[in-house]
Amino acid sequence: MMKTIRFAAPVAAVLVGSAFASTALADELNLYSARHYDSDERLYTAFTEETGIEVNVLEGDSDQLIERIQREGVASPADVMLTVDAGRLWRAEQEGIFQGVESDVLAERLPESMRHPEGLWFGFSQRARAIYYNRENFDPSQISAYEDLADPQFEGGVCIRSSNNIYNQSLLASMIAHHGEEGAEEWAQGVVDNMARDPEGGDTDQIRGVASGQCDLAVANHYYYVRLLKSDDDDDREAARKVGIIFPNQDGRGAHVNVGGAGVVEGAPNRENAVRFLEFLSSETAQEIFASGNNEFPVVDGVKKDPVLESWGNFKKDNLNISELGENNPEAIRIFDRVGWR
């Protein structure tokens, strides 16, 4: 047994040492990211090419990253935290892990709704939560708003994923903001009563459910649909062709959109690099990578959109203050629990 230990100790030392080496570079940026798309690699490479700053990445779940930054405290190497959901930006802000940033570049390039008033975080891409229908047997004029999903006439027809998912939590949080807690609970109950099946799978599975005839209506983020449309797999494209997309609430408040955003972490060891990185994210190059890589909507005007997104034209977005999504998140979970939305 002693042999084992004698062997293990140096191996462990080497491993630990190598983990250090990577964080000891001089000109670097430490990024905690909740995004994990392949296009992100291109984003970091482009940044390094432009500035010479190396990017160290730690990918994880937003909540876990927030937890980790908090625990790491003064010694945290984190410079920038990148997330994909407004509710999480708000939570990070609440936990006090962001510091204010003043940047003329960001002020000029980003629309006001994409900037926190004190510069704690900035939004860099948008995704819409849309409704899908089966082109063959469903008349899309029957539905125009999220509220319609709770209409008893669609009983047994609605497919939507589990309430464990943050996208649904944010959607319900926006319903709370617009209709109050009681109204939102009524709506959630109505959706549960209309469900075609118990919530299962991810957003893509809901769209596939519509294509296979299991559901008449589904709810999913727009880029999952675009991904199916552009898939290498014939079956995927075939499925997507059977499905139509509706941007809800166009006559009212607009479709629910969520934001991918980032902020500079309080006590960031490489603050300057962090600000440069945020500025880079608002650049044409970065915005195009966002738009083409994950088919998201760029937030800077005039950036070339993905052809599919372009073909949809402009749609009305719900300009609800992002902090409301975060504030209402715990209440949304309670409502989900009460109405039995798995």
């Binding site: 230990i5 990577s22 990918e59 909540d63 876990q64 980790r68 790491e72 599975d205 005839g213």
Partner: protein, 562 residues
């Protein structure tokens, strides 16, 4: 079987040992190190939570409890039956393909639950190839025909059983291989047939190993997250996660975790109590080639099918599905980056496996020679980390080490004006710590079951002949337990390869493993691309499984004599 009072053993060792204190201190230190996250979690119990429990109890808690109960019950029974049955067949019977099944039955071990869930969901769902084929062939529409939904409690239980039964198989087989022919011969002489021998002699004698295997399976099931989350089956573990991050109630989540732990402890204590004062020793060291029952005709065919099915459904089919997906549209990063991922996975798994086995030996031997209630409780606590969900363990470790790092850095800043960064919480150290804390139970169960079978008279003889406690361990026990140590090593190795939640939270910068890669893609609903990394986990995992499985066969005492 010899009935022996445990006090006899410890009294004996105490008399002969002048190093008892060293062992006792070692035992305590290991227990303390490993129990750290458990203690941190339990520390939350007395903190107040405003109305969260009321909300949980009146809404989701009953569902968490029933789902978890059924899941644990189904997986427990399923893996006990499959694992013990197949182990007995390959050890004691002769039938075509036996040699292959000996190691092939371990293969599903290399498949993480979340990976098998991804593979089968894609294959069996309404929009998947199988049902589409059925619809096209027979002209059915959705709803015209019955097809069981894989995304259900039953589906989750079936898939989890299929990849976890090897825990029982591995320990059961090791135990059957270590059994003494003499005992079986006595049974035969008394007129027992093969079934009777299995039920009344072999299984009861292997009880510690079987219980060890099943309890590993149950703990793994309790903290299973990937597959149940993917299937939308709400269990205790998904509930903890949701309470923590969704409701934003870490204290209530930790309390839920503490409940889960209490349940596990109760289960373990119940089993111990039902064993009573019985102990299971090998009272002889005579080992011969085990006699095999030759099977012919339909018996051989049934044995073949019984061994083939778990391998087919638990390994071959999902691998084929993944392979097909990987070829059709694989991971764009496949190539040199993948070597890096694989290297990270392999080195972490190797180090963690060596440490966990080493500590398990010290721990179980410490209890053996210093069998006080305190020692027993320490060893139990040390092995509890396994039952806590990985993400909770991770935070339980992060809290104290991040605090330590902060204290060091603050002090350095105050005195020397610069900081050195996160020595513990920002390096691979904390990751390995987490693995050992989580998986010590795996190696401990295996080692303890094996050590428990060595008769105390061996210790007595060795000590009488002047060996120290350490010398006895090295010269007597370690060689005798060789195959079980290997089994323990494999289990930890493969577990680390598959581990996800703690790896995600604790890993250092730019340090991705295969599991992390697979998860990131799958979480983004790109299953086809995740298939490459998933396959790689399976591929890297089966090599040691096969190698060690072969070594295990050779390690049967007495087999070299042939």
């Amino acid at each position: 079987m010899s009935h022996s009072d445990s006090r006899g053993l410890s009294a004996l060792t105490e008399r002969f040992s002048n190093r008892v204190n060293v062992w006792s201190v070692t035992l305590f230190l290991i227990a303390l190190i490993v129990a750290l996250p458990v203690i941190v979690i339990f520390a939350h119990i007395f903190m107040p939570t405003e109305g969260v429990w009321q909300h949980l109890a009146s809404t989701v808690l009953p569902r968490y409890l029933t789902n978890t109960f059924w899941l644990v019950l189904m997986v427990g029974i399923g893996s006990l039956v499959i694992g013990t049955g197949t182990a007995w067949l390959v050890v004691m019977c002769r039938f075509p393909g036996k040699r292959i099944f000996e190691w092939a039955l371990l293969l599903p071990l290399a498949v993480p639950t979340y990976v098998i869930a991804y593979a089968y969901t894609d294959f069996l769902q309404v929009a998947g190839p199988l049902q589409s084929l059925l619809r096209d062939t027979f002209g059915w529409e959705y709803g015209d025909y019955f097809f069981p939904n894989i995304r259900s409690l039953g589906g989750a239980a079936a898939l989890i059983t299929l990849v976890l039964y090897p825990y029982v198989y591995l320990l059961a087989r090791a135990s059957f291989l270590e059994q003494s022919v003499c005992v079986l011969d006595v049974g035969r002489t008394l007129g027992r047939g093969p079934w009777h021998l299995f039920a009344t002699v072999a299984v009861p004698l292997s009880r510690p190993a079987l219980v060890g295997g099943v309890s590993l399976v149950l703990m793994e099931t309790l903290n299973e997250f990937g597959a149940v989350q993917y299937f939308g089956v709400d269990t205790f573990t998904t509930g903890i996660y949701r309470t923590w991050f969704g409701l934003g109630e870490p204290v209530a989540a930790a309390q839920l975790a503490a409940c889960l732990l209490t349940f596990v402890v109760a289960l373990v204590l119940f089993e111990r109590a039902s064993r009573g004062k019985r102990r299971y020793f090998h009272s002889t060291n005579r080992y011969q080639q085990l006699p095999e029952y030759p099977l012919y005709g339909w018996r051989a065919a049934s044995a073949l099918v019984a061994c083939l099915l778990p391998v087919l459904i638990g390994f071959l089919l999902p691998s084929a599905i993944l392979l097909q997906m990987a070829i059709a549209e694989g991971d764009s990063l496949f190539g040199t980056r993948f070597i890096g991922f694989a290297f990270n996975s392999l080195s972490l798994a190797t180090i963690a496996a060596l440490l966990a086995v080493g500590m398990a030996v010290l721990l179980s031997y410490g209890v053996r020679i210093h069998n006080t209630p305190f020692a027993r409780v320490s060893s139990r606590i040390a092995a509890m980390g396994y039952a806590i969900p990985g993400s909770v363990v991770a935070v339980g470790i992060l809290i104290p080490f991040a605090w330590l790092d902060n204290a060091i850095n603050t002090w350095l800043q105050a005195n020397y004006g610069h900081i050195i960064g996160l020595i513990f919480s920002g390096s691979a150290f904390i990751l390995i710590y987490a693995y050992v804390a989580r998986f010590l139970a795996v190696s401990f169960n295996a080692v303890e079951a094996s050590l428990g079978k060595v008769t105390p008279s061996m210790d007595a003889a060795a000590r009488t002949l002047g060996q120290t406690a350490g010398g006895t361990l090295r010269r007597i026990h370690t060689p005798l337990m060789r195959s079980s140590l290997l089994a323990a090593g494999i289990l930890v190795f493969v577990d680390v390869m598959k581990e996800l939640p703690a790896t995600i939270i604790l890993r250092p910068f730019n340090f991705d493993t295969l599991a992390v890669r697979a998860h990131n893609l799958a979480a983004d609903e790109r299953l086809a691309e995740a298939s490459t990394a998933s396959l790689a986990i399976v591929a890297v995992g089966i090599i040691p499984v096969i190698l060690l499985s072969v070594a295990m066969r050779r390690a049967r005492p007495g087999s070299s004599a042939r």
